[in-house]
């Protein structure tokens, strides 16, 4: 048995109008859970639901409307989770607006809600984090840091709201210097915080991925992350850049620098993966990226490893036996895992797992 923790996170999942689940209420009282079934039956949808209740985002779409069952006015997703010695009920409701509840008490701040479970999702689409444009890597990184550090999400929120406001002012009141300046201290402060956290967490990820790669290959494959930001190093410099760039900003109608333009590039053995890596390499590195996430979360003193949940959507198939074992070893650091497969695999790892057969939105 790979998992030796007695408490595991998610004990029960309840869904209403979530993707193809009209109604679902299942107990998930096992560390290793396998969802099996033919394609298009709703295996990934269930993983998406687990991710959504933990992170209030989807790993597949940024459009909330995609998530509700076609023809319904919204959706509901809830999970009973163990946090420490007792269970809590986390509920998300999206009918019109978003409503969050923990044990029936309304929760206003998303950052408070997402602190309950730390979820890492492995999905076949992860390769785009490696070979797509920088915005996908920023998105991945922002989500990762938000799990590590709930305050990061608030800083991002402040930054984005202030940035949108300043950009609107640039377009409608460009000549009003005082109005532009009203947003600059906030932008500068949150931008510096965001950049500092991105630098730190990218370094952690990079170190960790190199360790994982050593487990995959004995050869000296070297992975590297290059992070480029145009945000100056300290507050006075950022404030000066705002005033120096103001004229240009007014002409182009938006703020021309900041963490929203940060470049993050992955390098494998010295060549830029976005341009030169093979599909297989991209998949492997994206897998390493998520494994590194699990490693870092599990090593973090503020995170109870039992509170880490991993969701694995169809990504182990392409690994050889040695890599599979490395993979299973790392995800065993989590408290609970949910896998999707068309059929239950034969690895020892799954000996004590519970299988759920998914068939057309029913289990």
């Amino acid at each position: 048995m790979a998992f030796f923790l007695l408490t595991f996170m998610i004990k029960r999942i309840k869904l209403k109008d979530f993707r193809n689940y009209k109604h679902l209420d299942i107990e998930t009282g096992n560390p290793v859970n396998i969802l099996t079934g033919a394609n298009g039956q709703g295996k990934t949808n269930l993983l998406e639901a687990v991710f959504f209740v933990s992170m209030l985002r989807s790993f597949r779409t940024s459009r909330i409307n995609d998530i509700k069952n076609i023809g319904s006015g919204g959706f509901y997703a809830a999970m009973e989770v163990m946090t420490g010695k007792w269970a809590k009920m986390l509920e998300v409701e999206y009918y019109g607006g978003r409503k969050l509840k923990i044990d029936n008490a309304p929760v206003v701040k998303a950052s408070e809600f997402i602190r309950e479970i730390r979820t890492v999702a492995f999905s076949p689409d992860d390769a785009t984090i490696v070979n797509g444009n920088s915005s996908l890597r920023r998105r991945f990184l922002d989500m990762f840091i938000s799990i590590m550090l709930p305050g990061y999400m608030s800083a991002l929120h402040v930054y984005v709201t202030a940035l949108k406001s300043r950009n609107t002012v640039l377009k409608t009141h460009g000549s009003n210097k005082a109005m532009l300046e009203a947003y600059e201290p906030m932008l500068a402060e949150s931008a510096l915080f965001i950049v500092k956290q991105r630098e730190y967490h990218l370094r952690l990820l990079c170190e960790n991925i190199n360790l994982i790669l050593k487990g995959f290959y004995d050869s000296d494959t070297v992975f590297d992350i290059k992070y480029k930001t145009d945000v100056p190093a300290d507050l006075p410099l950022v404030m000066r850049k705002f005033s120096n760039e103001r004229k240009k900003d007014i002409l182009r109608g938006f703020t021309g620098f900041g963490p929203q333009l940060d470049e993050i590039d992955f390098y494998l053995n010295g060549s830029m993966m976005r341009n030169y890596a093979s599909t297989g390499q991209c998949r492997l590195i994206s897998l390493c990226l998520k494994m590194a996430e699990v490693n870092i979360l599990a090593a973090d003193s503020s995170v109870d490893p039992a509170n880490i949940v991993v969701l694995i959507d169809d990504v182990t198939g392409e690994l050889d036996e040695k890599s599979r074992n490395t993979f299973f070893k790392i995800i065993s650091k989590a408290g609970q895992a949910f896998f999707t497969f068309t059929e239950k695999p034969s690895d020892d790892f799954f000996d004590n797992s519970i299988e759920y057969k998914v068939n057309n939105g029913k289990i």
């Binding site: 709930p150 949108k164 609107t168 109005m179 009203a182 947003y183």
Partner: protein, 202 residues
């Protein structure tokens, strides 16, 4: 009236009540049905209060707070208030709330919103010109900015502070951090962060 629905008058009342903040269809229905139980005198009183509302209530020409139509508000009219200290707030309900503390003895200025370009709220549609006039009058010594600590509130405070930085008025803002009388164990991380950065000598 439809066969199975409410009579038209009740439906109209429900529709009107639904327009109020925080009132959904179900609450509006309950309110409307409750009103049907009221005696005619009370309904009449409600009706005439509503009817006279626009004619009786106006904005204080000095500070922009709610007042009896065409009159200064009680605070601006009072000689016992300190007219050299002015507390700038977003809307009238905040004046009422600050007044409950009975601590602030100055006067107010109600902006009628905060700077929110994303919602079309710009300086032109806030009560800022009058504030400039009051400052230019030369009697104001201190301006207290009392806004919430969200992006819009902070931007409004910085904007006003910039606007009056050249004047002789001392500009202050309210402290943010732990709520008074609260238990630190229940504060969220952001509140604690704000309280730490605003800590004072004991």
């Amino acid at each position: 009236m439809s066969i199975s629905g409410y009579p038209d008058a009740v439906n109209e009342l429900i529709e009107l009540l639904k327009g109020l903040p925080g009132v959904g269809r179900r609450s509006a229905e309950r309110m409307a049905l409750a009103m049907l139980d009221w005696n005619p005198d009370k309904l009449d009183a409600l009706g005439s209060v509503l009817k006279e509302l626009p004619g009786r209530v106006g904005f204080c020409p000095e500070c922009g707070h709610l007042s009896e139509k065409d009159h200064l508000c009680g605070i601006c009219a009072s000689a016992s208030r300190d007219h050299s200290t002015i507390c700038v707030v977003e809307d009238p309900s905040q004046v009422i709330n600050i007044e409950k503390s009975a601590l602030f003895r100055g006067v107010y200025h109600v902006l009628g919103g905060k700077l929110a370009p994303l919602e079309g709220k710009t300086p032109e549609n806030l009560n800022i010109e009058k504030l400039k006039e009051r400052v230019a009058g030369g009697k104001i010594r201190e301006m207290v900015l009392a806004f919430s600590s969200d992006v819009e509130g902070r931007a409004t405070a910085i904007y006003l502070a910039g606007l009056f930085s050249g004047s002789n008025v001392k500009i202050t803002r309210l402290a943010s951090g732990l709520p008074a009388g609260s238990n630190i164990s229940f504060a969220d991380p952001e509140t604690i962060a704000a309280a730490f950065s605003g800590r004072t000598n004991v």
